[in-house]
């Protein structure tokens, strides 16, 4: 396994990161200055420009985690396991920011920081399952078992993604259903789309960095392995 040089994933990630920076700057200007405040919610609606893109980044990262986990179980290539780890960990990051920004938005609009609304509850369950993925991996020493069990947890966790998406349609409660661009002011749609692109590129950059970490740590783990004692060298 090569540990030297920059992988193609790292190169693509660097490009994504470099693109994300100016786009997020433009998105911040559009969302905080250019787009008008909402007629009903006023300024607080501007939270949408970080809240919704957080979920786009979450979905993207969890999809990467899920697809790579399925492929890992089929092909057992370690690189697929590294990418699955990267997807899940970055997904957990944006899942957390999505929940927190939603909670901050909920306080002035609903009057509460948290409520057991189906959308909020299912996203919290999704986060707990993927945090469980990270914990399970941390407790397993054997890389093969870590990859296999991790992949199973990631696949199970991904089952919650469509449930989260459809929860606002299946159980209509406090959280609004998905908006259509046709019912939202054009300038708001532009600001939102720019931020969505910025967050998606940012998630790609972070996944590429996390992939590199996993690749290098696995290489070091392999070099540390002592075949005589079937354990780590002291």
């Amino acid at each position: 396994m090569s540990t030297s040089g920059m992988s193609s994933v790292a190169r693509l990630g660097r490009v994504a990161g470099l693109l994300a920076l100016p786009i997020v700057a433009v998105g911040l200007y559009l969302g905080l200055v250019w787009a008008p405040p909402d007629a009903m919610m006023g300024q607080v609606q501007r939270i949408m420009y970080v809240h919704f893109p957080s979920w786009i980044a979450t979905a993207l990262a969890y999809i990467v985690g899920f697809v790579c986990s399925v492929l890992y179980l089929a092909r057992r290539r370690p690189t697929l396991d590294y990418m699955a780890q990267a997807g899940v960990e970055v997904g957990v990051l944006f899942n957390t920011t999505g929940l927190i920004t939603g909670s901050i938005w909920g306080r002035p609009t609903w009057g509460v920081w948290w409520t057991w609304d189906p959308r909020l509850t299912t996203t919290a369950i999704m986060l707990v399952i993927f945090v469980g993925y990270l914990l399970v991996r941390a407790f397993l020493d054997d890389p093969e078992a870590r990859g296999r069990v991790g992949a199973l947890v990631a696949i199970m966790g991904f089952l919650t993604v469509p449930i989260v998406y459809f929860s606002v349609r299946w159980w209509r409660t406090l959280h609004q259903v998905q908006s259509s661009p046709n019912t939202v002011d054009h300038s708001m749609v532009i600001a939102l789309r720019v931020m969505m692109v910025a967050f998606a590129l940012g998630a790609c950059y972070l996944m590429s960095r996390r992939y590199e970490v996993a690749r290098l740590e696995a290489a070091v783990e392999l070099l540390d392995f002592d075949p005589e004692t079937e354990g780590r060298r002291g």
């Binding site: 540990t3 919610m41 300024q43 607080v44 920004t101 972070l206």
Partner: protein
């Protein structure tokens, strides 16, 4: 329902600051971890 308006701009600032803090902290942690992993990999290659 009336506007919850301008008075609540603090919530907007809080949401943006929290998001930026999490993303920057995670990026910083990854950068440090990557540097450590590169150093360890280079060290092991040197030993081999």
């Amino acid at each position: 329902m009336g506007s919850v308006g301008v008075d609540n701009f603090g919530f907007v600032v809080a949401a943006y600051v929290v998001t930026a803090t999490f993303v920057i902290a995670y990026t910083w942690r990854l950068t440090r971890r990557l540097a450590r992993a590169r150093q360890a990999a280079a060290g092991r290659r040197g030993e081999a």
